[in-house]
Amino acid sequence: MSALPMAGAPAATNTIGLTKHDYRGAPTTLCAGCGHNSISNQIVAAMYELNVLPENVVKFSGIGCSSKSPTYFMNRSFGFNSLHGRMPSIATGALFGDHTLKGIGVSGDGDSASIGMGQFKHVMRRNLNMVYIVENNGVYGLTKGQFSATAEVGLELKRQGVNPYMPIDICMEAIISNATFIARSFAGNAKQVKELVKAAFSHRGIAVLDIISPCVTFNNADSAHHSYAWGRDHEEPLHDLTYIAPREEIMLDKELEEGEVREVTMHDGSIILLKNLDKGYDPTNRFEAVRALEEAQRNNWLITGLIYKAPEKSSLVDSYNLVDTPLNRLTESDLRPTPEMINKVNALMF
């Protein structure tokens, strides 16, 4: 639990004086090579680089391999490993406790696209202030390799046969549910994952990261759409993406010309810098985003990057106009009406 620096040379610290170790979690118990571990590592790196106080983050998850991973990053943050498919409701209530906290939720395709589909879509439309990561591998790992709802039709798995059903597209579901920040990435593209985690964390509202995160044990055949090989061969980044923290200087490559760079400004003043826009993609255009997802689906492209960022809109907790003191620090004098009020109420009861 305590933040002991590594032996030997003094560890590097970020601007709030914490070492990377302060952002680490317990050793992983997932399979070697699991995409989820690489995502946990990128969360650690992103939070360290963003100089986030771990105590200001609350981790959430449901049930499944992915949902175990909050144990493997940010030990100093509170965490709640809840029920299968029910992470959104737990997070919704919990984040009312202290409106200054930010949620990072890790779910999976089974957790979010099947048993938790209802809660997934409703937390989108409520715009809860949290990063919602779906570690998407197309299979149920903990129960040993059944198809999930995001598995492509025709996928053949050992002992399961051929998947007869059409897949659910997490990003598409998010956008039609009015999510305000939607991105897709690939666990094999560590840099992009990290930049997107930072961008998502800077978003005030729900930020969905659908990260294709291969299951090396049950669904990693080269032809499977959630495998490392497929991802490497079919990834179609919409852009190169760099997160620029507030007040950080933007350094552009000299050879880039005007029109080749797009800046998306975030709530906290940070900027997402999108380069190499040969596809001319505008992530602030919702219509365009739906079209891009539809096109990717038809062509079996793994499009990655920032798919959609809505104009600023109040997050759920912000819209409740709460007192400045976190609700969970209020005391009796804030919460119990005065004795005079009982007479007022009794006068109404007739």
Binding site: L53, E55, K59, G118, V323, N328, M341
Partner: protein, 631 residues
């Protein structure tokens, strides 16, 4: 004809959705305003418009508030229920009907009055066409007022209250009341014996429904987070929160100390409430049977992860969708055993509107003290019907926020704490809340096996130790629960044990049992589970204990016999569930019917020859001898 003064019942049959509730409430309030004890019960269908619905008003000079099965005055405006309503009038009763219903009446044994409601309302130039049906209901208020003697000033006061002093609707409605009263005065001859006369028995009392009381009580309990999903008959709790939180917790800066979220379903409602409870808010949800079925999974998590949350179950009669608008006490076993694996439940059992208020605030104290879900099992009868009550009483004790460690506490402890560590030996551990900035404050909550520091473990010894502590926690919490209430009678050998909304009917039945059947009873009303020592003592002290409840299987009786196998023979179930509120007659007859096959206590067996043991069959056939025979 002897006058029946301030002691009769009225039933009003209308079509659902016709707007009769204002009229019925006006009658209720007028009689209350005259100082006469009165209660109102809605017997309504699960429907928005069109089906027959009834409202019953009981006028009782003795202050009995339970349902009365016989209705002396029947008013019907509904052709669909007309024949049924007419047939239900007892001999000597009165029958009022809207004269546009053209159906034959062949009852010479009752007083029949027809009311030209449509004509009178049409003649009233002050009532716009689109208000005619609504305001038309006020005509029967006026006719009834005239015929039984309800003071029109009291009616006016009732309307003033209902319309919050808005002159136009008050005038319009009171105009119709007067039209009805004047017409009745000129055209109807009194042929029945029912009258109201002013008393002074309602002074200082209030009239309220339990759901409103629950909502207000919760606000006084400092409720901070409500997540809910609409369901009859619990909806008005959450709607009450929406009404009273802004009124009672208003701040100068206009900001809020609470949040109410309407969830997408009960799964999410309880999930949100548990999330909020975990983060340190006074969190609650309200639901009924079908919703609670959905909440079961999350309740198990809150039990095991030890998260405070308050869950109101306003019971309606199941199984399944059941009769959604009828009352019940049939969720007791379900809630007591809720969740897979070993579990325990804290259940509060309010018996009236005042306890809905009291448990509204107390439930938060208990939940935070116990770090556990607390259920409040109300029912439709308490929750949605109007009850004459004592005024709500300001909480007597300060809030108990339970064992919570903040930054300064952890500094003193130098971070030496464990989320599930039984430091005080009372099986309740300390918790920290998200937002705590002390670097060693956090922990990871899970529904999987955990050790005393909330770390994942599959260790068997650790698992058992934790489960044993949980068991002990439910022993500790007993001292924080509301104690049973004992209504004792000197010399009573028979005990009645019950809970919840049956209290009014039972107290009325006890008077009759003693008066007409020489049966003295002690009555213990249980107010919480787990059962406390007082219940053991009550069972030990009585030769026979009738366990009265509104469900088919005698669920409390089952729990008591399990807890007291040695007393199983003297615990007798009087259980019935038809969806209607308990009546004194049902209680009395139910007890008397079971009085035949009761094992006789040792002392009585010695005194009495065996053949005389089984003698009581029916209320009316009980003789002095037979009554003695079972003692």
């Amino acid at each position: 004809m002897t006058k029946a003064i301030n002691d009769f019942s009225i039933i009003i049959g209308t079509k659902n959705g016709s707007g009769s509730s204002t009229a019925n409430n006006t009658i209720l309030r007028s009689i209350f305003k005259m100082g006469i004890p009165v209660s109102g019960k809605n017997l309504f269908p699960s429907n928005i418009q069109g089906l027959p619905t009834w409202y019953t008003i009981r006028v009782s000079k003795d202050g009995y508030l339970g349902r009365r099965e016989e209705q002396d005055i029947v008013i019907t405006l509904n052709p669909d229920s007309f024949m049924r309503d007419l047939a239900s009038v007892p001999p000597g009763g009165a029958f009022f009907y809207a004269d546009d219903i053209k159906l034959p009446i062949s009852r010479a044994d009752i007083a029949v009055y027809s009311m030209p409601i449509k004509k009178l309302i049409k003649d009233d130039a002050n009532i716009p066409g689109n208000f005619r049906e609504l305001v038309g209901n006020m005509i029967y208020v006026g006719v009834l007022a005239q015929m039984i003697g309800i003071d029109l000033d009291a009616v006016h006061a009732a309307l003033e209250f209902h319309f919050k002093g808005k002159q136009k609707p008050i005038d319009m409605n009171f105009g119709a009341v007067k039209a009805g009263a004047e017409w009745a005065k000129a055209n109807l001859e009194k042929k029945d014996s029912f009258y109201v006369e002013p008393m002074n028995k309602t002074e200082g009392l209030i009239m309220a429904d339990g759901n409103t009381a629950a909502a207000i009580g919760s606000v006084f309990g400092g409720a901070q987070f409500v997540a809910w999903y609409p369901i009859t008959p619990a909806t008005s709790i959450a709607e009450g929160m929406n009404e009273y939180l802004p009124m009672l917790r208003k701040r100068e800066d206009g900001k809020h100390t609470y949040a109410v979220v309407q969830a997408e379903d009960e799964l999410a409602a309880i999930g949100m409430a548990i999330g909020a409870g975990w983060s340190g808010l006074r969190a609650m949800t309200s639901t009924s049977g079908p919703g609670l079925s959905l909440m079961t999974e999350f309740v198990g998590l809150a039990y095991y992860a030890e998260v405070p949350v308050v869950i109101w179950d306003v019971q309606r009669i199941g199984p399944s969708t059941g009769l959604p608008t009828r009352t019940s006490q049939a969720d007791l076993s379900f809630v007591a055993e809720i969740g897979h694996g070993d579990s325990d439940s804290i259940i509060l059992l309010p018996g009236d509107v005042n306890e809905c208020f009291d448990f509204g605030w107390q439930s938060f104290d208990i939940a935070e003290r116990a770090q556990a879900p607390v259920f409040v099992l109300s029912d439709l009868d308490i929750g949605m019907n109007q009850w004459m009550s004592r005024p709500f009483e300001y909480p007597k004790t300060p809030m108990d926020r339970g064992k919570v460690l903040w930054e300064k506490d952890l500094e003193e402890l130098k971070g030496n704490w464990g989320r599930y560590l039984d430091k005080d030996g009372d099986a309740i551990a300390y918790r920290t809340l998200p937002g705590n900035k002390y670097p060693l404050s956090s922990y990871f909550t899970r529904g999987t096996g955990h050790d005393e520091h909330a770390k994942y473990t599959e260790d068997s010894t650790m698992f058992v130790r934790n489960m044993d502590r949980l068991k002990r926690k439910y022993e500790t919490i007993k001292k924080y629960l509301p104690k049973p209430i004992l209504h004792a009678t000197k010399g009573a050998e028979v005990g009645i044990l019950a809970y919840g909304s049956t209290e009014a009917a039972i107290n009325e039945a006890r008077v009759r049992l003693e008066r007409d059947h020489d049966m003295k009873t002690d009555f213990l009303r249980v107010r919480a589970l787990p059962l406390t020592q007082e219940v053991d003592e009550f069972i030990a002290k009585h030769d026979r204990i009738y366990v009265v409840e509104m469900n088919r299987d005698g669920q409390m009786h089952q729990r008591l016999t399990l807890a007291h196998p040695e007393s199983a023979m003297k615990l007798i179930s009087v259980a019935y569930g038809d969806g209607l509120p308990a009546s004194a007659r049902w209680v009395r007859e139910g007890i008397l019917a079971k009085h035949t096959n009761v094992p006789v206590s040792k002392s009585a067996a010695k005194a009495m020859p065996a053949k005389k043991k089984t003698s009581v069959k029916q209320t009316k056939t009980v003789s002095k001898n037979s009554r003695k025979g079972v003692k």
